[in-house]
Structures are given as structure tokens and as C-alpha cells.
């Protein structure tokens, strides 16, 4: 990536960071009453996804999905309105863990591992269309211990499905540390199924971009699954309100060096990007997020009488 690319990636990541921070404030204020999982620290994965997705690709994500929704092209105002429990992307029926945008081909699910086989369904349709489109199944390191993932790796390999398994390895399954829950090296888990795996530092924009580029190319050109495991740090608790007491003292402070937004900012400065250009990008990102949330907050809350709608489509709905 050249300096302009890097600056653009910085702006994308900063928008995602500011987006999540605003959502976090809405939880504290009570504007959002439900459970909330933020992706602060995971931004480089979202930015890399955004760079490699093409029209026609699909993304199926997890309970920590806002970054991936933004990367997939979900309208940020619709997204924010849904998170704020207003008449948004899914009319207040889905909320933060269950976002569906059939136009952007994005969805996420709150059940760990359940989205992975669904992603195979999108990939099945793409394999029949043979137009080079692919589906990304996003998961966390905790998800990698779900049987659904193993089942789907096998099925995707057998059916030669164009899907990329992207694992954000943040080192914690909720509160349980990686070494207490997970055996072996995650990126090697595809090998038994003939699925090439790429491990990378998911806080270094070049490394995650390169790993994802390589995986996407294999999957897109050869119509076969691939796996990317990006190591990241989760700077928030599992959910907002999680006291986070299971972390060793000093861990979070030490991890600041792996904050992808800070890291790229420093790198841009070190590389000679003028502070003024950086400040412009920061101000654009901040203005965009402010505008999105202002628009979202003008959306009405869902009407009470719609609660029973959409159990079914059509005459029985």
C-alpha cells in the first residue's frame, strides 16, 4: 500500500473506532438497553475486508459485527438506527447482533458458530453462478472450537465452495484465555481439510491486507475455501459493562502498542505524512460519524403495533 492508500485505510479505521465509541456511549446513557459487543482493536480486519470485497461478495459475521457491516457497505445510518433501537436496518427486530442487509449481502448472528454454515449457503449459490464472487465467514477464536466450523470446513472443501474463513483471534473466549480453551495453532486447522491457512498480525494493516489478499485470490480464482487467522487485541470487555477483571494487570496498557489505529497514525507520521493531512482525515472521519448518528437519532422508534409483523412473509405474515 502506498501513502495515499494508508491514509485512506486510517480514515476507514478511525471512522469504525469513532462509530464504536459512540455506540458505547449510547449504552452508558441507556439509549441502548441490550447487550453490546464492540470491535475496538479489530479495526484493521474490517479495513482489509473492505479493500478486498467486490460487488457480489457476501459477509456473514458474528456478535461483534459492526466493523464488518461497515466494510460490506451497509448504510451506516441504517446500521446506527438499528443499534439505537430505532426503525433502522431491520425495523428494530434484529438489533446489534442480528443485522441483515440483503442488498449489501451482509448478515450476522448472535449464536457463536451458527453463521459459518450459513455462509456456506451463500457460497453455494456463488459457486453455481461461477462469477468469481465469494463469501466471508467471520468468526472469533472462541468460535473456532464450535463443531459447526469443523463441519463447514469439511463441507466447503468437499463442495469446493468459494468461502474465506476469517478468524479474529483476540485471545479470549469471553473471559477464558486462549491457552486454556484452544489447542494447537488456529491457522493450521484448515490443513486437515486441504484448506490453506494464513496467520498474521491483525493489527498491522500491511500484514492483514497481504494475508487477506492471498486468501481471497485463492478462493476467488480457484473456487475453494481458505482461512485467515488475524491476531488482534480486544480493548473492551466481552460486552459493554463487563468488568474485565479476568485480565492480568497491565495487559491492556501493554497492548496499546497493538492498537491498530494508533499504530497506523504513528506510522503515517513517521513516514512523512504531514500532520495537517492527518488532521484533515481525522476531522472528516469525526464529521462523518457525527452526521450518521445525528441522522440515525432522527429516526422514529418502531411502532408498537409492528411487533407481530414479519414472523412470516406473505399472506401469513
Amino acid at each position: 500500500m502506498n501513502a495515499d492508500d494508508l491514509l485512506e485505510v486510517f480514515e476507514v479505521m478511525l471512522r469504525a473506532r469513532l462509530f464504536e465509541e459512540e455506540v458505547g456511549r449510547a449504552v452508558v446513557s441507556g439509549e441502548i438497553h441490550g447487550e453490546m459487543h464492540l470491535g475496538i482493536g479489530h479495526e484493521a480486519v474490517g479495513a482489509a475486508l473492505g479493500r478486498h470485497l467486490r460487488p457480489g461478495d457476501a459477509v456473514v459475521s458474528t456478535h461483534r459485527a459492526h466493523l464488518h457491516a461497515l466494510a460490506a457497505g451497509v448504510d451506516p445510518v441504517e446500521l446506527a438506527a438499528e443499534l439505537l433501537e430505532r426503525d433502522g436496518l431491520n425495523h428494530g427486530k434484529g438489533g446489534h447482533m442480528h443485522l441483515f442487509d440483503p442488498v449489501a449481502r451482509f448478515m450476522c448472528t448472535g449464536i457463536v458458530g451458527a453463521g459459518v454454515p450459513i455462509a456456506a449457503g451463500y457460497a453455494l449459490v456463488q459457486s453455481l453462478q461461477a462469477a468469481g464472487a465469494l463469501t466471508v465467514a467471520v468468526m472469533g477464536d472462541g468460535t473456532m472450537n464450535q463443531g459447526a466450523v469443523f463441519e463447514t470446513m469439511n463441507l466447503a472443501a468437499v463442495r469446493a465452495l468459494p468461502m474465506v474463513f476469517v478468524c479474529e483471534d483476540n485471545g479470549y473466549s469471553i473471559s477464558v484465555r486462549r491457552e486454556d480453551s484452544t489447542a494447537g495453532e488456529l491457522h493450521r486447522r484448515g490443513a486437515a481439510f486441504g484448506i490453506p491457512g494464513f496467520a498474521c498480525d491483525g493489527t498491522d494493516v500491511d500484514r492483514i491486507d497481504a494475508a487477506m489478499g492471498e486468501a481471497f485470490e485463492i478462493t476467488r480464482k480457484k473456487s475453494r475455501p481458505s482461512l485467515v487467522v488475524a491476531s488482534v487485541y480486544r480493548f473492551r470487555g466481552h460486552y459493554e459493562g463487563d468488568l474485565d477483571l479476568y485480565r492480568p494487570a497491565g495487559e491492556k496498557e501493554a497492548a496499546l502498542a497493538r492498537d491498530p489505529v494508533r499504530r497506523l497514525r504513528q506510522r503515517l507520521l513517521d513516514g512523512g505524512t504531514p500532520l495537517a493531512r492527518l488532521a484533515e482525515a481525522e476531522s472528516r472521519a469525526s464529521d462523518a460519524v457525527t452526521r450518521w448518528f445525528a441522522s440515525a437519532r432522527r429516526r422514529p422508534v418502531p411502532r408498537r403495533e409492528t411487533a407481530a409483523d414479519h414472523v412470516f412473509v406473505g399472506a401469513d405474515g
Binding site: 448472528t109 451458527a114 449457503g121 453455481l128 406473505g314 401469513d316
Partner: protein, 340 residues
């Protein structure tokens, strides 16, 4: 009658014919599951499809119910109309999240933006395979908002309701009784199958039908037990009891208006079920009638399965409603030994 006496087909031929018709009509209909391609289904219900439509539209999956059912959910959301086979309904336990939290809920959670036109076909009922391969589990599916549940009783419904299920834009659980799949149509008490070369017309879910009139008691059932109830009613006639039979056809949608109509005309109403009684279809039907009719409701009873299905034939016969036990329950109700 002479026509049906010569009919060599079984229920499984009818399912395969309905699938073939719909796959010919609509290129987005695909079939996958365990042993559906090479073998043509363990009960033969997908026979001939792989040869006719090829591997892109009909294929075998690994024994990974979560993976292939989830794949069906995703494929349905992405534009196909998958018809997947869960070999035995008992296997829902290994893929229940995909049924409970994905297939059933994605339409609602998307605010109606996502459609899941998916048919989950599954074989149900007793053929001597004990507690893990004999269950019906219709109420387990029907309990979850967002799933339609069809349980056809007759050959004609097996075809017509499957056609309707495939054309439905919602997820439909389609329960096929093993006895109906395996039995020659000429041996059915009641055969309304479409002739082999005729167009199969869709039969809508959610509309019950009365198959036999009766002045003393109305027996309400779904699936296999409808056929047994007809036999039981015929037997009761000789004992001076006039029993009618109503076929529910689908548990979801439930034909509430139809139930009220039937209950208003019946002095006694017996609901029978080969699924579990506790918190099940029998209670739902009786509660619906009680809610709608209050003091006008008939004397009501129910007769269903109360324990896991045992292995030995003599025990199985004791546990699952049969022609004599349905007849006895109906007599008890008519003669005032209610509660059945």
C-alpha cells in the same frame, strides 16, 4: 377404487414425483442431504432426481446436519429454494440451533427483509426403531415461531402440500410418516393420490378437512393417525358409535376457524397424536377450542404418546395410539368416561 387397487406406488414415489415436477418447473429448487443423490434417500423419496438433474442440483452431503442445514438457510437467503432432507426427525437435536435460531427467525429478525424459502423434509413415526428413530416431534418444531409445520396424512396431501411448501416463501418443516412413505397406495385406507402422469396441484397449508362425518364424536388428528382414525371410526360404526374424522394437515398455520366449526357440530371431540402429549398438539387444539367457544365447547379428550418409544413390538404397540386404542378413547369419551 379399481385404479388405486392397482397402484404400485408408495408414498416415497409420490414425494419424488412432486420434487421432480417442482425441479422441472423452477430451476432454483435444489435437493441435498444425507444419501439423497446416489441412494435416492433411505426411504426412496428422492429416487431418480440425481440422474435427472445432476450434481449441481441434487447432491449428497457429509453426515453434518448443522453444516448442510445452515448451508440451506444461507442458500435460501441468497435466492435458491433448497429442499433438504433430515433423514429422521429425531436428528433435529444435532442441528437444532440452525432450526431454532436461524431458519425460523431470520425473516423476523431482518424485519421482513430476508426470505428463507426452505423446506426441511423429515421422516417421522414408528417402524420399530425405538426412542431415537421413531419420534414425530411435530410440536417441537411447531412451538418455534417462524416455522410452518405440515404433517400430511394422505397420499394426495403428501404430493400437494409438498408442492405448496416448495412454493412457499417461508421455511416449512414437512413431516413424512415412514409408514406412508413405505406403504403401497393400494393398501392405504384412504388414497387420494394424483395419477402418475397428471400435474400435481398445490394444496394449501392451514386448511383442515373433514374426511368422515359422525354424529357422536369427532376425532381430530394429523399425519399417520388420520388413517388409523378412519379405521377406528369404521370399527366403531358396528358398535353403534358414529365417529367423524378431521385431518388437521398442518400444525402451523393452525386452522383455528376450521377447528371452531368442527367443534360446534360435535357433541364430543377427541384429539389424537403420535407426538408427545405433554405441552403438545392435543393440548393446543383443545385450548384453542376452549378459548374460542368457552361454554359451547364439546366434551373433549386427548390420546397421545406419553413416554419415549420403546423397542419391543409389544411395548411399542402399548405406547403409540393404534386403531383399537383410538376407538377405545372415543368410546370412553362418548360414554362419559372422559379425559380419555
Amino acid at each position: 377404487m379399481a385404479e388405486s387397487a392397482r397402484d404400485p406406488r408408495t408414498g416415497s414415489h409420490l414425494v419424488a414425483a412432486a420434487l421432480r415436477q417442482e425441479m422441472d418447473r423452477d430451476g432454483s429448487v435444489v435437493v441435498f442431504g444425507e444419501d439423497v443423490a446416489g441412494l435416492g434417500g433411505v426411504f426412496g423419496a428422492t429416487r431418480g432426481l440425481a440422474r435427472r438433474f445432476g450434481d449441481r442440483r441434487v447432491f449428497d452431503t457429509p453426515v453434518s446436519e448443522t453444516a448442510f442445514l445452515g448451508m440451506a438457510v444461507g442458500a435460501a437467503q441468497a435466492g435458491l429454494r433448497p429442499v433438504v432432507e433430515l433423514m429422521f426427525a429425531d436428528f433435529l437435536g444435532v442441528c437444532f440451533d440452525q432450526i431454532l435460531n436461524q431458519m425460523a427467525k431470520n425473516t423476523y429478525m431482518s424485519g421482513g427483509r430476508v426470505r428463507v424459502p426452505l423446506v426441511l423434509r423429515s421422516a417421522v413415526g414408528c417402524i420399530g426403531s425405538a426412542a431415537q428413530h421413531s419420534q414425530v416431534l411435530s410440536a417441537t418444531f411447531a412451538h418455534i415461531p417462524g416455522l410452518k409445520v405440515a404433517y400430511p396424512a394422505s397420499a394426495g396431501d403428501l404430493q400437494g402440500m409438498l408442492v405448496a411448501a416448495i412454493r412457499d416463501d417461508n421455511p416449512v418443516v414437512f413431516l413424512e410418516h415412514k409408514w406412508l412413505l413405505k406403504t403401497r397406495l393400494s393398501e392405504l385406507p384412504f388414497n387420494d393420490a394424483t395419477p402418475a402422469d397428471a400435474q400435481i396441484v398445490g394444496r394449501p397449508l392451514g386448511r383442515l378437512r373433514r374426511l368422515r362425518d359422525g354424529a357422536d364424536v369427532t376425532i381430530v388428528a394429523a399425519g399417520y393417525l388420520v388413517q388409523l382414525a378412519l379405521l377406528a371410526a369404521a370399527g366403531l360404526e358396528g358398535k353403534g358409535i358414529s365417529a367423524g374424522v378431521v385431518d388437521l394437515r398442518s400444525l402451523v398455520p393452525l386452522d383455528r376457524d376450521g377447528l371452531v366449526r368442527e367443534a360446534l357440530g360435535a357433541p364430543c371431540l377427541l384429539v389424537v397424536d403420535d407426538d408427545y402429549q405433554q405441552y403438545g398438539m392435543t393440548g393446543e387444539v383443545l385450548a384453542t377450542i376452549a378459548e374460542e367457544l368457552r361454554h359451547e365447547a364439546p366434551a373433549m379428550g386427548r390420546h397421545a404418546v406419553r413416554v419415549p418409544i420403546p423397542a419391543a413390538a409389544v411395548l411399542e404397540a402399548e405406547v403409540v395410539p393404534s386403531v383399537p386404542s383410538i376407538a377405545q378413547a372415543a368410546r370412553d369419551l362418548v360414554e362419559g368416561r372422559a379425559g380419555a
